[in-house]
């Protein structure tokens, strides 16, 4: 469990710094424009990079059929998120579709 402690502490530090540093130093330091531009791509890029393999190739093989509930449920999840802008509804809706598809 030593390794787990290290992982948790490491994650705590790398999670805290991006939350803290801009709030604390922004009034004193000007971030170069190119860095701001680069950073602006990170949220969408990392989220898409996480989602696409996870839902399109869950077992390390591309599967875009009804046997892949994660892929099918992405459509209603996407739609709910887009229309309601409500995270809880998106999560519950997506999970409900995944749950039901397992009984088909």
């Amino acid at each position: 469990m030593e390794r787990l402690t290290l992982v948790i502490l490491g994650c705590a530090v790398v999670t805290f710094l991006p939350r803290f540093l801009p709030m604390y130093i922004l009034t004193r330091l000007k971030i170069p424009k190119i860095v701001v531009a680069w950073l602006s791509y990170i949220p969408v890029a990392v989220l898409a990079a996480l989602v696409v393999p996870g839902i399109m190739a869950p077992e390390h093989k591309i599967n875009l059929t009804f046997t892949n509930a994660y892929f099918i449920a992405a459509f209603p999840a996407f739609f709910i998120a887009w229309r309601t802008k409500n995270m809880l509804l998106t999560v519950v809706g997506g999970m409900a579709v995944v749950f039901l598809l397992q009984y088909l």
């Binding site: 948790i8 801009p22 709030m23 531009a37 680069w38 969408v44 890029a45 898409a48 989602v51 393999p53």
Partner: protein, 230 residues
């Protein structure tokens, strides 16, 4: 209003967030316990990291046997999105005592940011209000995770675990959708998604997320530079 009243007013505003964090936290705790992580560690992660998507990723990467360094770096990239929120929130916090900023920034999440921005735009709020709002959301997340860690074993069937694990993807889909406001970000999402899938299938290990993200951001900046926008 007294400081306690301000704190409680903020706390009350956090109720919708808590209603979301309890079940999500529960799913995190349950998945972690199914992955063989003990309750003290489940709680420690919620208390020290306090990042839903980061904690889900940590659990799933640990279960997949990923190395510590690649887990930490992936969590860093996932949570890097808070940079922009922290920067944006800082404009409202100029009058706050500087000593509360570490705590307020530690408690910054996608949901608390969205709610706080709305409240701060409506009218001036002091730090007690914001501490009440953020602290209550934090408590909901930690309690949800603890409950999941204790009772998660009851959901240890493959169907339940398979369903709960989707909380992560649904959350990411949500966070992604609400950020697709500009054309360049839609292109970036398509680029990062395709690259990530390609690297995932071709490159062994857990580096595909980091590679796709860094490549996409760099390409984006190069295109902007080439178009003379930077």
């Amino acid at each position: 209003m007294t400081s306690l009243q301000d704190f409680l007013a903020g706390s009350k505003k956090a109720i919708p967030i808590v209603l979301g964090y309890l079940p999500l936290g529960f799913a995190y705790g349950a998945l972690a316990s199914i992955a063989g992580i003990n309750l003290p560690y489940i709680l420690m992660m919620s208390i020290l990291v306090f990042a839903g998507s980061g904690q889900f990723i940590t659990v799933s990467m640990l279960a997949a046997g990923a190395g510590a360094f690649s887990i930490i770096l992936t969590v860093f990239l996932v949570n890097l999105r808070h940079l922009l929120m922290s920067a944006s929130l800082s404009t409202y916090l100029q009058k706050f005592p500087r000593k509360v900023l570490p705590l307020i920034s530690f408690w910054l999440t996608d949901e608390s940011f969205a709610l706080a921005t709305g409240e701060l735009q409506e009218g001036e709020k002091n730090h007690f209000f914001l501490l009440g709002l953020f602290g209550t959301a934090y408590l909901g997340w930690v309690i949800g995770g603890g409950l999941g860690g204790i009772f998660g074993g009851l959901f240890n069937s493959s169907r339940a675990a398979y369903t709960m694990e989707y909380a992560l993807y649904a959350m990411f889909i949500f966070l992604l959708v609400i950020q697709l406001k500009q054309k360049k970000f839609i292109f970036a999402a398509a680029c990062a998604g395709s690259l990530s899938l390609l690297f995932y299938l071709l490159v062994p290990g857990s580096w595909y997320i980091i590679m796709a993200t860094v490549a996409t951001a760099t390409l984006g900046v190069m295109v902007e530079k080439w178009k003379g926008l930077l």
